[in-house]
Symmetry: C2
Subunit: 300 residues, 2 copies
């Protein structure tokens, strides 16, 4: 089983409105509700690829129960730890001319709740072949938590992938994760000077075993113990980049549990990322695009 951790799990809601009347009353034509958060999206992609997954993280209040209900409906096994606060909702008001997003502040997590989660997390690692730790942190959770989660996994021989931004990314290498996966902007924020390769190398020097940098259309850069590799995309896939990073991380996790060579891991991760761009909803990917782009990706 691959464990995915989503400390700030969300209910992703989409309102379709033909033409929003701002400062007026709008009838919503259609509503979509779906469990979200980066780790949930990673789990969806892994499950679609036939992998056993387990979703963990924190969930609270009626919104937390809605998240759990949707995971159940989607057939995604979940073992979320309860919190008193209410899980966040993200709302996209979508009209033909564009979308307006509203992100709730989300719950505040107490020290005791985080402590209970850590105990719960340790028990789940027993059956895990890899753990994916990704996304934003709820309020009250210290920025080094991803480093701690990775370290606990490493101590049990479970390789961890961390996909984070800001302070949690800066701390992550300290937990000696198998892979840290920033995108180019996140890496530039974490290591402000030098080239992406130098930045990735800096994160390796701080403890990460490998660093994979997603660079959008420019493909992937991987800095590993075995050297530097790049995945070059054969063409631009049009669509919705939300969730592309999560599909990419799912590909990396698969490579990790299958212990496949790095060129193969990167090719699959890059192909899944591109196939996710072609799918309208985060957590999905387009199988035809995946099959088409995969053999054309150049590893150099």
């Amino acid at each position: 089983m691959i464990l995915t951790v989503t400390l700030n799990a969300a209910l992703d809601v989409t309102y379709q409105v033909p033409a929003v009347e701002w400062d007026g009353v709008n009838r919503v034509a259609a509503v979509h509700r779906r469990a979200g958060g980066k780790g949930v999206n990673v789990a969806r992609v892994l499950a679609a690829l036939g992998q056993e997954v387990l979703v963990t993280g924190l969930a609270g209040g009626p919104t937390g129960r809605a998240i759990e209900a949707d995971l159940g409906a989607a057939g995604l096994p979940a073992a979320l730890a309860p919190i008193a606060g209410e899980s966040r909702t993200t709302l996209a008001v979508s009209q033909p001319s564009g979308a307006t997003l509203f992100n709730e502040p989300g719950p505040r997590v107490s020290e005791d709740e985080l402590g209970d989660f850590l105990t719960h997390y340790e028990s789940l690692l027993d059956g895990a072949r890899a753990v994916v730790i990704s996304g934003s942190l709820p309020q009250g959770v210290p920025a080094d938590v991803y480093a701690r989660l990775a370290a606990v996994a490493a101590a049990r021989g479970v390789p961890a992938i961390v996909d984070a931004d800001g302070e949690p990314l800066r701390h992550a290498p300290g937990g000696r994760p198998a892979v840290v996966k920033p995108n180019a902007e996140e890496l530039a924020r974490a290591v402000p000077h030098g080239t992406p390769e130098e930045g990735a190398q800096a994160l390796r020097e701080r403890g990460a075993e490998a660093v994979v940098v997603s660079q959008g259309e420019a493909g992937l850069l991987a800095v590993t113990a075995g050297g530097v590799l790049r995945a070059r995309m054969p063409y631009k896939v049009e669509g919705n980049p939300t969730g592309a990073g999560d599909a990419l991380v799912a590909g990396l996790a698969l490579g990790l549990v299958e212990r496949s060579p790095w060129p193969e891991r990167l090719r699959r991760a890059a192909a899944l990322g591109a196939a996710a761009v072609a799918a309208p909803v985060a957590g999905d990917f387009d199988r035809d695009v995946y099959a088409h782009v995969h053999p054309l990706i150049e590893i150099v």
Copy 2:
């Protein structure tokens, strides 16, 4: 106990956003979630006045559970009947310059679910001194349902107040309710010709025992078996008119169970309506405004 029926119970959500960036990403500064729907607001006012209440209606999905959880947290006894569909959310995106409202389409109710509710409703009437039936109908529910609910109550000697619009209002008098409470616009839609007094009289002729028409700042018009009465407001209360009609209906329900004379009923109902305008949230009322305005209302 006073029973309030809310077939289209809602979760009323408010997002406070300092300045909305349309077509952009917005951080929500504060979120408020509260069980809503007209019957729920009526129950809140009655409970605040020390009355025993019971909230019934339909609730489904995670949003239905959120509604029930909020009623529980507010100390409002509830016995909602379950439906498979998901209860609706109303969202108000509030910024200093104004508010944008989004109304979800809400659930579709099956014939079986409605049948189960009617059985449930009958059993709840046993302990009821009055029943308040108000608000919109979910999809799939026939427009004569309020007439049926009133008729079932009448057959058991429980007086009913119906607060509805459109087809449900046109049908309502057929159930011989004790009071039908449209506002001026609703009455004009239901009985397009003649004065408000003639319109109210027409609803009485179709079966309503009394008709109370809310006319905003102009006060109330009551057409009863004992004649025509008007409540005249002493001054305009500034504020939020949402929920004023529900407070007014709560006042009428109170008059019904206390069998108070019509002038007294009207004065209290009008004072509660005005006091609700002075409170920012539907279902609340301002006790100071209530105490101040009540003795000044003129009944003619």
